[in-house]
Symmetry: C2
Subunit: 170 residues, 2 copies
DNA sequence: CATGAAAGAATCTCTAT
DNA sequence: ATAGAGATTCTTTCATG
């Protein structure tokens, strides 16, 4: 994968900007260690510091780089448990969805939420210290809203977690 | 949630270190903008720069802060599509799991993978440019390994995505 | 128009009080 | 906690090909 077979045309995006292999390599580095000095990155991609710095700055200004964040260890932050909640909606009224959005935003333990195709309507990723804390989240949800169905799956093991998007498609 | 009702005892972790409310506030900031100057963070949490800097450094050394990374926009990086793959395993042999781990590691489009309780054994998060690219990932998987069952759900909408863990449990 | 060199500003890192 | 020195990095400007 990550090799579609199509010839690379330079990777023009919707916004009209063109990225090349050097941009990809810069992003690949920044997605793993954003505190690397520009000179070090420049060296690795075979550029002098100034043009490299300009590329990074442009990647920020165009929004390709959305944010620079610290990733925190789940266990050391006392939220070692990850639970996935599958939700079916009881109503397709707009008010229900609005309430659901507000609920999701209000609960920091819910770190991800997606609306899906298929028989499950939404999937939520929840991080908590333990089952008891998860139960509090669960209760808070069903107290505030109606659900047609909710089912939980506990993550027994995280095999992979990366925030680095594949860059080969750029 | 995120308020368990128990009195805060300072939040001693497994490693024996004690975090307080200031550490929580620092982490909360760093999880959103890691490039904030130390002096600015110090000001916000009501500390002078030096002790604030020392706290941040300790958070790094103890591994609470795992990494500092750039978050890239999915759409602008040409991987706007998110797909969740549910997998059931055909065999509980160790070799199968080893192969599965290697497969997951080898495919950069698979950004997350978890082993779950319940009827689904694993769930994978995959980011790709489009259906065609997804199909390549899918084919690469079933060509390399056997699965008892695979089912895909396409994300129609990302309601929430944050890498910031809740800090109230620390 | 992109590159490379270099100067000034800001920040980081650590020491001393 | 504060002050501050020295090193590093960032950001901009300018000359060059």
């Amino acid at each position: 994968m990550s090799q579609s077979g199509k010839p690379r045309r330079g990777g023009d995006r919707a916004e009209g900007h063109v990225f090349d292999g050097v941009d990809r390599r810069i992003l690949d580095i920044l997605q793993r260690e954003v505190d690397r000095p520009v000179t070090s990155i420049a060296e690795e991609v075979g550029l002098s510091p100034t043009p490299c710095w300009r590329r990074i700055k442009r990647l920020e200004e165009t929004g390709v780089i959305r944010a620079r964040v610290a990733l925190v260890d789940q266990r050391l932050a006392n939220v070692p448990m990850t639970v996935f909640i599958s939700v079916k909606v009881p109503s397709h009224a707009k008010t229900w969805l609005d309430d659901f959005r507000a609920l999701i935003e209000a609960i920091p333990e819910i770190t991800e939420a997606y609306r899906l195709t298929g028989d499950v309507d939404y999937i939520l990723k929840v991080v908590v210290p333990d089952i008891a804390a998860y139960d509090l989240v669960y209760k808070a949800m069903i107290e505030r809203m109606d659900f047609s169905q909710i089912s939980s799956s506990i993550s027994m093991e995280e095999l992979k977690f990366t925030t680095a998007l594949p860059v080969d498609h750029l």
